[in-house]
C-alpha cells in the first residue's frame, strides 16, 4: 500500500489540481524526489538551495511535525499520510 501526500492549495497548479497523490518512497526526503519526477518544479518549492526543507514549509507525517521526528530522514510506512502545510500566524 502506498503513502498518501496531501498537496496544499499553493502547489496544486503543479499537480494538475490533484489534492491527494500517492508515493512509494521510504523516507520524506525520497518522497520529495519522487514528487519531483512526477511534478517537475515541486522540489524547489519545498526545499532550499542547501536541500533543507524551507523554513516556512511544515511537513507532517500522520499529523506529527517531521521536526519532532527525523526531518527529511523520517521513515515512511505503508498507509502513512503526509501533509505539507504553510506556517500560519497565531492567535
Amino acid at each position: 500500500m502506498p503513502k498518501k501526500v496531501r498537496i496544499p492549495t499553493p502547489l496544486r497548479k503543479l499537480t494538475n489540481n490533484e489534492e491527494l497523490v500517492e508515493v512509494n518512497a521510504a523516507t520524506i526526503g525520497e518522497a520529495i524526489i519522487e514528487l519531483q519526477t512526477r511534478f517537475p518544479g515541486i522540489q524547489e518549492r519545498l526545499v532550499d538551495e542547501k536541500g533543507e526543507v524551507r523554513r516556512f514549509v511544515n511537513v507532517y507525517v500522520n499529523e506529527e511535525d517531521i521536526r519532532f521526528l527525523k526531518n527529511k530522514q523520517t521513515p515512511l510506512k505503508d498507509g502513512d499520510e503526509i501533509s505539507i502545510i504553510p506556517a500560519i500566524a497565531g492567535g
Binding site: R45, F56, V57, E63, A87, I88, G90, G91
Partner: protein, 418 residues
C-alpha cells in the same frame, strides 16, 4: 497604482519579494514565505500628518492610511486607542526610572489586542465579498472574531484547542459563533485550519486574511508613539506567541519614522515568552536566527504556540533593534500578574504576567538599563483567565453580619500583621 486599492500597492513575499494582487491569499506560491502588504508611502505622507491624526476620533482608525482597507472600515470602528498608563508604582518595584503600560486589557469590544487585528481583517473580508469568517485561536482571537462578526452580521467559525480556559470558551459561545473545540494543542488546530481554509471559501482571519489581519497590530505602535508625545520608547517589551505582534510593533515604529511623524531614535524591542513554550526566547538567548519548535506546556495558553510562524522575523527584529528576549515560569507569571494588579490596578491575563515578569528579568540583568524608559505591552484581560490565578490569591474572610465579628476579625488581622 490603481485607485481602488486605496493606499495599498500589492502583497509581497517577505522571503523572495515576488508580488501578488491584493486578494485573500497569504503565502507565496514559490517558497511559502508570508505575504505582506506594501503601501504607497508617498501618497500616505501627503494625507497622514500629526494634525490630521489628532483631528480624528480616538480609535486605531485614526491611522487608517496605514491600515490595509480600501474604503472606510465597516467593522470594529471603536477598537484601539487604549490607555498608555504611567506606571510609577510598578516602576519603583521593578527598579526602573520610567515605565508605561500599554493597556490593551480594556480594548473594545473583547478586552484584548486582538480587537485591533480583527477589525482590520473583518473590514477587509467584507470588502473582498466574504460573508463567513473563521480563525484558529488560543482564545482571545476567537472572542474577538465571534463578537465582531456578530456585530457585523457575519457568520463565524472559531477553532480552539479543547483545553482552553472556561472564560475564553464562554466568551466565544455567547456571540453565537460556531465554536469548534479540537482535541490537540494550538499548532494542531492551526494545521487543521490551514487544511480547512484550502477547502472552504471563508475569510480565515489568520490564514488567507493574514496579510491584512497582521497589519492591525501596527496600530499599537502608532498609539504608543503618539501617547508618549510623539517619541519612540527606548524599550518596548512585547509578548510573543507567533511573534507577529513584535514584528508589527517594529514595522509601526519604522513607518512613523519614514513618514516623518516621529524622530528616529534607539528603540529596542524585547520579546517575552513563558518557559513552558519558549522557542523564540531560547533561540534569541543562544544567538540563533532560527528556532526549534516545541510542544507547549504553560498556563500562558494565549502564548502557547510551539511552531511560531513569525519566529524568524521576531528574532530578526530583536537583533536589528538591539532587543533581547527572556522567559519565565508559571509561578513567576502568577507573581507578575499579582504585582501588576497590586501596583497599578490592572488585572492582566497570563500573557500580561509574562510581559511584566520578563521585563523584571531584563531590568535585573541590565538588558534594560535602570535609567531608561520602557513600555510594556499588556495585551489581554485577567477576567478571561481566572483559572490561572484562582487558588493563588487567597480567599475572602467570611463573617456573620455582626459588628462584633468584624471587630474581632480586624483585631486578629492586626495581630497577624504586627
Amino acid at each position: 497604482m490603481k485607485e481602488h486599492d486605496g493606499f495599498m500597492k500589492a502583497l509581497k513575499c517577505r522571503e523572495c519579494g515576488r508580488e501578488y494582487p491584493l486578494t485573500a491569499t497569504h503565502v507565496c506560491e514559490f517558497d511559502f514565505g508570508p505575504l505582506e502588504v506594501v503601501y504607497d508611502y508617498d501618497r500616505i505622507k501627503k494625507s497622514l500628518t500629526r494634525a490630521a491624526i489628532q483631528s480624528r476620533p480616538q480609535t486605531m482608525w485614526r491611522y487608517r492610511e496605514l491600515l490595509p482597507v480600501v474604503n472606510d472600515p465597516t467593522v470594529g470602528l471603536q477598537a484601539g486607542f487604549t490607555p498608555l498608563v504611567k506606571a510609577d508604582r510598578l516602576a519603583k518595584k521593578l527598579g526602573i526610572r520610567e515605565l508605561w503600560i500599554k493597556n490593551d486589557t480594556v480594548n473594545y469590544p473583547t478586552l484584548s489586542f486582538k480587537d485591533r487585528v480583527v477589525s482590520v481583517a473583518l473590514s477587509r473580508a467584507r470588502e473582498l465579498g466574504f460573508d463567513t469568517v473563521a480563525c484558529a485561536s488560543t482564545g482571545n482571537l476567537a472572542n474577538s472574531v465571534a463578537a465582531n462578526a456578530a456585530s457585523a452580521g457575519m457568520k463565524s467559525y472559531v477553532f480552539i484547542p479543547s483545553d482552553l480556559e472556561q472564560g475564553k470558551i464562554v466568551n466565544s459561545l455567547i456571540y453565537g459563533a460556531h465554536v469548534i473545540s479540537i482535541k490537540g494543542h494550538y499548532d494542531e488546530v492551526n494545521r487543521l485550519c490551514a487544511e480547512i481554509a484550502g477547502k472552504f471559501n471563508w475569510a480565515f482571519v489568520n490564514v488567507n486574511m493574514r496579510p491584512y489581519y497582521a497589519e492591525g497590530s501596527k496600530s499599537m505602535a502608532y498609539e504608543i508613539v503618539e501617547q508618549l508625545g510623539w517619541r519612540l520608547p527606548q524599550h518596548t517589551v512585547v509578548p510573543m506567541a507567533s511573534g507577529s505582534l513584535l514584528t508589527k510593533i517594529q514595522k509601526g515604529y519604522q513607518e512613523f519614522v519614514k513618514l516623518g511623524l516621529v524622530a528616529e531614535s534607539e528603540a529596542a524591542i524585547h520579546g517575552a515568552q513563558a518557559t513552558g513554550c519558549s522557542p523564540i526566547s531560547v533561540a534569541q538567548k543562544a544567538g540563533l536566527d532560527f528556532f526549534r519548535p516545541v510542544k507547549p506546556d504553560t498556563i500562558a495558553k494565549s502564548l502557547a504556540i510551539g511552531t511560531p510562524a513569525d519566529g524568524f522575523y521576531a528574532l530578526k527584529a530583536m537583533k536589528e533593534t538591539n532587543g533581547a528576549a527572556d522567559d519565565i515560569t508559571d509561578d513567576e507569571i502568577r507573581d507578575a500578574i499579582k504585582l501588576l494588579a497590586e501596583t497599578e490596578g490592572i488585572f492582566a491575563e497570563t500573557a500580561g504576567g509574562v510581559t511584566v515578569g520578563v521585563a523584571r528579568k531584563l531590568i535585573d540583568s541590565g538588558k534594560i538599563p535602570r535609567d531608561d524608559s520602557a513600555v510594556l505591552c499588556v495585551t489581554g484581560n485577567g477576567l478571561k483567565t481566572l483559572d490561572a490565578v484562582a487558588g493563588h490569591v487567597g480567599k475572602p474572610c467570611e463573617i456573620k453580619p455582626s459588628l462584633r465579628e468584624f471587630e474581632a476579625l480586624l483585631a486578629h488581622e492586626e495581630k497577624v500583621n504586627a
